[in-house]
Symmetry: C2
Subunit: 532 residues, 2 copies
Amino acid sequence: MYYHDLREFIGELERRGKLLRWKRPVCKDTELMPLFRLQFRGLAEEERKAFLFERVRDVQGRSLTMQVLAGSYGASREIFALGMGCESPEEVYEKWHHAVNHPIEPVVISSGPVHEEIHLGQEIQEMGLSELPAPVEEPGFSGTIRTTTPFITRDPDTGVRNVGTYSGHFRAPDRMMAGIGTVHHAMIYHWRSARSRKEPLPVAITVGTTPNIVAVGSANIPYGTDELAVAGGIAGRAVELVRCKTVPLEVPATAEIVIEGELSTEWQEPYSAYGEYPGYMAAENKSNAVIKVTAITHRKDAIFTPILVGLPPSESNCISRTCREMILYNFLKYYCNLPVVQEVCCPEAGGGWNFWVIRIKKSHPSQPRQVLYAAAGQDSGGKVIIVVDDDINPKDPEMVNWALSFSMQPHRDVEILEGRVPRLDPSGAPPTLAGARERSFPPPNGTSVLLIDATRKWPYPPVALPKKEFMERALKIWQEEKLPALRLKSPWYGYTLGPWEKEEEENARLIVAGEYLKLGEKMAKRRTRLKT
Amino acid sequence: MYYHDLREFIGELERRGKLLRWKRPVCKDTELMPLFRLQFRGLAEEERKAFLFERVRDVQGRSLTMQVLAGSYGASREIFALGMGCESPEEVYEKWHHAVNHPIEPVVISSGPVHEEIHLGQEIQEMGLSELPAPVEEPGFSGTIRTTTPFITRDPDTGVRNVGTYSGHFRAPDRMMAGIGTVHHAMIYHWRSARSRKEPLPVAITVGTTPNIVAVGSANIPYGTDELAVAGGIAGRAVELVRCKTVPLEVPATAEIVIEGELSTEWQEPYSAYGEYPGYMAAENKSNAVIKVTAITHRKDAIFTPILVGLPPSESNCISRTCREMILYNFLKYYCNLPVVQEVCCPEAGGGWNFWVIRIKKSHPSQPRQVLYAAAGQDSGGKVIIVVDDDINPKDPEMVNWALSFSMQPHRDVEILEGRVPRLDPSGAPPTLAGARERSFPPPNGTSVLLIDATRKWPYPPVALPKKEFMERALKIWQEEKLPALRLKSPWYGYTLGPWEKEEEENARLIVAGEYLKLGEKMAKRRTRLKT
């Protein structure tokens, strides 16, 4: 059974050793995110945990009543997978496929814990957002505090709902600035519809939902598909919604916090610097719509959930890369009918967008190119796309570099395509080129994609490692001797990659039987005299 | 003071926690190399050790008197560096520069421990090589046992000495097959000279020397430079040599074992399968010269030193990559007068030959291309060459992929050059194309090189991490809370990459002081009305 609320999920994280409770008072402005960040620069991914800060203060010494939970949505792929109700990261791709194909419509119920406390009117103007312990993400560089969580909006013309993970930058107790890129569905459809009606766009910002809501808000789902129905598909039951107090929207009944408001279609304010997925501070000279906060509702002892954005690896990149993998895997395997696709890896180093490795079980030489072109077409991001053979772990950059080193020839296996979108990639055009269109086209500006077929083009000799039986025997001895614990990387024993001569097998048998002399006698008979 | 012999070096390894003694009897044919190999598939490089097998048996149950020391020359870059007399891997590049520019000629002394036991004539025919505990490297695939250690030869015409690390495959107590590529100096100069004189070529195969001899035997040193003088430069004193018993050559006086012999210029024998640096078994249908063993001399309780070859990472690739780095770093920095070059990394994934990352401190936009062309010209291997900025750790594949993702545009920053040599790279041509020349030229066969300028082309915003002072504060708290030990990766705090607006600094100060309301007031004044 899927988690009813974030708190049930916290319990599951704790049972699995994936939660660290902070009893020590921690300052949200100077200490909290740096502490959480240390994990990403100093621990292996499997060791990372969600951090629950139980006693949060601000830099002015005030104690905040809400707790802060960092990393519950994506401190690691393991934690993301748990959030999807999966036992391991490998399961999420098929789980996603199932959810998209078996959506469950949400249901509206009469009341829920998100309405345990309701702040309106005067309370919003006086305290409002200041009640929320939004931490400073990059102290010293960040020019903002914000939410980065699912926004729920509706197309005022059609009623189509959208759930998208965007930011809301705090500007006053009752005011935010919307951190939504102009290309996102909430802006290009809903906001523009509202604007043509000369109305503001109602918005509900959810904080501290179950992880399925964050997943559907972060993945690119075709416009018109109700993300909350896909979230229901993930959970295996309908998401329960309650009606908002001041806007005509519904929100998950068990969310920790909901900010209700109106996205202005008339007024905008400038951005101030914030961390972005490419790993640099975003400090572009642009503005975005103001949000007027009309209500804040929350559970008792509510938990605030920031998202760590910035230099990869980060939580936002972990969520984004896994969502990208789910989408791309499903696209290639099911929509393009390419069952040769075994795995898609969009490592965090590329923010999930700019570096993709696709593992295939090749059965025809044309497949790597087909996969490369299809992947390039699925999304206009993707700057480096590499196809590798089935025995290469695409998540292991050393093994991918091994494939690049010995299974690929640049002049034969590399192709460069132009006319892509740079998104937030700062390498696309100099910062002095301000316009989005100018930054994209024509070359030399904009982005291109490097397609690499790093699969083997013909049968290869066996991988130079001892055969399985000998490595297994060694492993047994290793354990008997109580030597340091091993984290075995694949491959850890040799295997063939095509026909292997009977002769070579016979030689190997002689050698492992200690019969080098017999091998030598055989070779002596094949001795040849050098031609003069 | 540099090590007088391998045993002194073993003592140093042990003092540094880099040696594991195996008291348990271990079978050299089925267990020894698989045990040593486990480290390379399951431990971080810093945790790898040299393994001293004190009780060696063979698969037929025989106890061998000699010990086997695996990994003393390159189980890790740390161990390689210790062998160079350096405290850390970072020091070896300048140490090499010094040694090449301050060679010390070797001296011949009258006797040395390598002659404590001398086997000649009948003893060679009966026992000979069978006394040596050469382990099976890839049990189940290997069709050979062998030495892979420095060969000493002399040009019979000019007397020029060469030291090169090659293999000697065991074929009989008194016979080996030479594993020397046709392009190596020992073959193209010495062996051909001997052949034109219709004489065999005297050879001395050294086993268990001090690591400086292995380093000079593994690095590409210009023909005519005496490798032993460079080895003296590394040690800071002359290498002491003794005269061989049956061939007109000199060998290091403290070597554990020396095999004296004659490389036939008349007869050759076929290869049988062995692991090679690209990570595949080499099983080409070719032959090489027979070696007649004329003497074996060794120390009492001699120690045999195999080299682990095969799937990267491996000891051979660790040695080879570090030698390649030393050569390429010196070439670029000193010979090409490119002081912008800070570091060269030829990761093991590419066997040291096929994947190079060069870190530069760019001061002019032309430098990345100059570095790329120079590197491509220094050696006709090198299949992927990437230049990165000074803040990117070239040894961290995730950070290199980060640079590829956000500092590079394929259409602008990638170039492909053809007409390279494939060496043992199996991707160059199908195995059915047997001739070395046919495998190289013309395209589509042969190798090409992918040159990538992954440096930033203009000023970037700061790296999205908290400023140093906040990360240091977090680290202090982390330690106070006794949380799991961190291995901090660079970078672990944010830094600027060009001008950063005063305005942004001011905003960051407001935010870290908890003054989001003041920031909001400022932004409210800059509010703009959307154009209709």
